[in-house]
Symmetry: C2
Subunit: 401 residues, 2 copies
């Protein structure tokens, strides 16, 4: 067995241990100590915003006293922090549930679904079906590859009218394909949902990336996405991760916006779910200075996204890939002449490029990778590495320390 | 209305907002900006261990790169961290559920109780009845003040035999009174529980403080408490907060040890519940060097505890208080000539001493405060302040910035 085959086996074994999520970088390092990860194109965050967040936090806890408070003291209760954060989103504190990452929001929101079937589109972020409680079983609606995984409104609505579910889940832009519904499309659907639907879970974790890269300035209010919507339509629950926009996955921060009644029920028993360092971040996050700097970081990243999609799109000329249209900060790539195992391993072994192997994603029929946009030079590195692997060029040898 | 009355009203309003938990120091500062808190004797952690934890963590994330990883990267999944931590507790990783604070352990453990009544002793830590799901209603067993809130084995067992609950909850040492059952008493009860009892939730968050202060050296294995027990008796679930022992409430770390089958059920949907900085702490925590230094910090604190209880006990001579025997790092104090409102406010206003007002604690009939042990000089400050307030001496005036 050659070195690359051995590496493949080890990598796929690690992947299997992580279930329906990618192997963490830490686990990758522990499991393959000699491996060099040059670009983490599996990770879905804005790297410029991450720099801002890291600098902001380091400064905020620079003194021993400030650091000590974040570590030793009990953080504020969740309701206090909701009061702090709500004005930025333009919602009442009673409507906002702050959580230990979006996964906690999803868990709590799904646990409180009305009993009955839930229409879940496939492919999607797996916790949206894995976390469903027994009384709210999933009813899958598979997005057709032939239509580029776009959610076509009419056939989807016909499906809902036929099945009459109690709840529906929309991830917008959708993960892993980046399919997107415009606000007027969401409104169209909301106006026509069958009356059986009492709950609409709308995940907007990738919403900040959905605007076209051309937009010259980012209006502050656009960053709250559909947070205004549950106030008008109490069926809607907006779910959002802060990990993607702000590059703070380690802090575990996410939120849900919903009717005050539902938020009261959802937040029950979540007393001190936000940790001390995340609290420090939230206190900076609500400030005008941070928001202004964040909009700059987002604007820069959006510009890079355009170039990233162009670069990936050009690879379709090789005849080796199909790149699906995306409004997220990532692209779903179908491999036409290789297996995902092959390309995933070679990208990592030969180029240190770590991408998302989609072998565990339900609703994907074929060989798929998801590639996320990082900094501009990293994106170039990723595209070149992918081209090398797809066309059989071998610019670097397998490295082993 | 004089200044102290105004302060009293404001403090009690803040307390009311916090529900069945004390007002956080942050909220206290925000709500009463002029207030000076000199000693936080509400907080239940070992201050020497907190210094060790803060120093350890600061060093571990001193470089920008290490700090960035803790903030930006996804932390390891909960199952990975359980694998890391399990050997220190002498249990199999499959038996260990690591959580975002003990409150998350309690929430998850109670949500998975078998249906039927749960015997909860009163007074106790309120989430143990507030978090019970509808199918597992509490059946209260009130510990009598006349017996110093001690759990007398025979009458308690008779109650269980009569009521035949499906589950029982023991907090050992108990919060807020510090009542304690020795290992042989636990064994006595476990051997005699009616066969209706399928689950025994044993919270040992204060167990490290329960040994007599005289013990000259702390054996490493004693720090795992009853973690070995669920392996022998699958009815038992051990719950533990790391906030108290290690002074890391801001990190949100707690764990549960239980049968592998139950742990599998309990940890469902808790993917990335441990934040990045908490992960850094866990990686240090399992190390020999940290554990050795921790045992020193615990030994020092246990020594102080003896002096603390003596000092408080001496106040019984004033005829103004009764101090209940405690094996925790706190004492429950009944006020015989004042209201809790009066003493709580005066301690804070005149002396900057913040204690736990027990007005919201169910099962306490009378006027009670809970006072926790801090560093030796702080304990002296607290005891003197309490003596001043109880005997009507006024060594300091109400301060206002």
């Amino acid at each position: 067995m050659n070195l690359e085959d051995a590496l493949t086996q080890r990598l796929l074994a690690l992947k299997a241990q992580a279930g329906s999520h990618p192997t963490s970088l830490t686990r990758l390092r522990d499991g393959l100590p000699g491996l060099r990860v040059a670009v983490d194109a599996c990770f879905l965050a804005n790297p410029y915003a991450a720099e801002l967040a890291v600098d902001t936090l380091r400064e905020a806890v620079q003194s021993r006293e400030a650091f000590r408070r974040a570590v030793e003291w009990y953080p504020a209760q969740e309701t206090d922090l909701a009061r702090l954060a709500a004005p930025l989103l333009g919602v009442a504190p009673e409507q906002l549930f702050l959580a230990n990452g979006a996964t906690e929001v999803i868990r709590a929101v799904l646990a409180n679904l009305p009993p009955g079937p839930v229409v879940v589109t496939l492919p999607t972020f797996s916790p949206f079906y894995e976390f469903l409680p027994p009384q709210a079983p999933p009813l899958f609606y598979t997005l057709p590859k032939a239509q580029g995984f776009r959610l076509e409104l009419e056939p989807y609505l016909a499906f809902l009218q036929q099945e009459r579910p109690r709840a529906v889940i929309w991830v917008n832009p959708n993960n892993p394909d980046g399919g997107w519904l415009a606000p007027q499309e969401l409104a169209w659907l909301l106006a026509r949902l069958p009356d059986s639907v009492e709950r609409v879970v709308l995940d907007e974790s990738f919403d900040h990336f959905a605007q076209p890269p051309g937009a010259s300035e980012i209006p502050e209010e656009s960053l709250a996405g559909s947070a205004w919507l549950p106030g008008k339509d109490p069926r809607v629950v907006v779910v959002k991760s802060l990990s993607k926009d702000f590059g703070v996955a380690g802090l575990r921060l996410g939120y849900g916006v919903m009717s005050a009644a539902l938020a009261g029920q959802t937040r029950r028993h979540h007393l001190w779910n936000i940790n001390g360092l995340a609290e420090v971040f939230l206190r900076a996050w609500v400030g005008e200075d941070f928001q202004r700097r964040y909009r700059k970081a987002l604007h820069r990243y959006r510009g890079d996204l355009g170039v990233f999609f162009q670069g990936l799109g050009a690879l379709e000329n090789t005849g080796q890939v199909r790149v699906f249209p995306s409004r997220g900060n990532f692209a779903l790539v179908e491999l036409l002449g290789h297996t995902a195992d092959q390309v995933f391993t070679r990208l990592l072994a030969r180029h240190g490029v770590y991408v998302r192997h989609c072998g565990d994603k339900r609703g994907l029929n074929g060989e798929f990778l998801r590639i996320s946009a990082r900094t501009a030079p990293e994106n170039t590195q990723v595209t070149q590495a992918l081209e090398d692997v797809l066309t059989g060029r071998q610019t670097e040898q397998v490295k082993q320390d």
